[in-house]
């Protein structure tokens, strides 16, 4: 296990690169989905109020 973390002495570089990639890609996935849900809700509310007029 510690060999795996050590990565032949390059652990700090390898893990930083992988961690940053996971965080950045995770963030764009979360932000993209959150924005989509928000827009969907907003449109549904508008359409509701439209039909209730």
């Amino acid at each position: 296990m510690s060999d795996f973390l050590y990565q032949g002495g390059y652990g700090a570089y390898v893990w930083t690169a992988y961690a940053l990639s996971v965080v950045a890609i995770g963030a764009i996935i979360a932000l993209t989905l959150a924005a989509y849900r928000k827009s969907k809700r907003a449109l549904a509310r508008l359409q509701d109020s439209e039909t209730n007029l």
């Binding site: 570089y13 390898v14 940053l20 990639s21 950045a24 996935i29």
Partner: protein, 238 residues
């Protein structure tokens, strides 16, 4: 192609495709990640060879995204198709993130292998320019209030900036550089052993599918936003 460009059609087709895209991207990334760490350390690069599996796909998607953005911009400019403009605008922030990841992972690879975080050589400099083009494109789009004018200005910037793509691609042949040359899509076959080629291929596939999935969701979001805006305008006018 142009039938898809009808927003309603696009919503139906993309809604059906998205779940499959998500599954395929997840599988490719999961198997790719596993193979990345199952691959043995390289005889020259040691374990830093694992940088390749996230660096190359990020850089590849960054360039592909710009190419798609420029293409959509050209279609938007020539055919005045609003969905093409939306597609171009929605690709930019994603492309910028992948470009930044390409630069950062490259820097973290360069430090142990070249002894430098950064060098001003052709490949690195032209790739930094790609990030600046994305950021300039995003800034330009948000600076212009009128949607049609913003789309036109952005489209012109995207198309002119596309000149940078072949510069990035051939930079390693044109200039003496620390960055290694083309080692995969070259005449005479790849220079990389299969044990590294497979994780690289799967990660590149995963990154590509992920980009398309996120791009489609962003386009859908903007279509919903524009519907909402149209509803509000018609409501306010009534």
């Amino acid at each position: 192609m142009f039938e898809l460009a009808n927003p309603k059609r696009f919503m139906n087709v993309s809604g059906a495709v998205l779940p499959w895209l998500a599954v395929a991207a997840t599988v490719a990334l999961a198997v790719g990640l596993y193979l990345s760490f199952a691959a043995p350390p390289d005889y020259q690069q040691g374990t830093t060879v694992r940088m390749m599996f996230i660096h190359v796909p990020a850089a590849w998607v960054a360039m592909m995204a710009y190419g798609l953005m420029a293409l959509a911009s050209a279609v938007g400019l020539v055919n005045r198709h609003p969905l093409a403009d939306v597609a171009a605008r929605m690709a930019a922030p994603l492309g910028a993130v992948f470009t930044a990841l390409g630069l950062v992972t490259g820097s973290l690879w360069g430090r142990p292998m070249w002894g430098a975080w950064w060098v001003w050589d052709g490949r690195l400099t032209s790739f930094l320019l790609l990030l600046l083009l994305y950021l300039g494109y995003i800034a330009l789009g948000s600076a212009i209030e009128d949607e049609t004018r913003a789309a036109r200005a952005c489209a012109i910037l995207a198309i002119v900036g596309a000149v940078n793509l072949p510069i990035i691609e051939f930079s390693v042949d044109w200039w003496t550089t620390l960055h290694q040359g083309e080692s995969i899509l070259r005449k005479g076959g790849p220079l990389i052993a299969a044990v590294y080629l497979w994780p690289l291929f799967l990660m590149a596939l995963g990154y590509t599918l992920l980009f398309y999935g996120l791009w489609i969701v962003r386009i859908r979001t903007e279509i919903l936003n524009r519907r909402a805006r149209a509803l509000m305008l018609s409501g306010a006018g009534a």
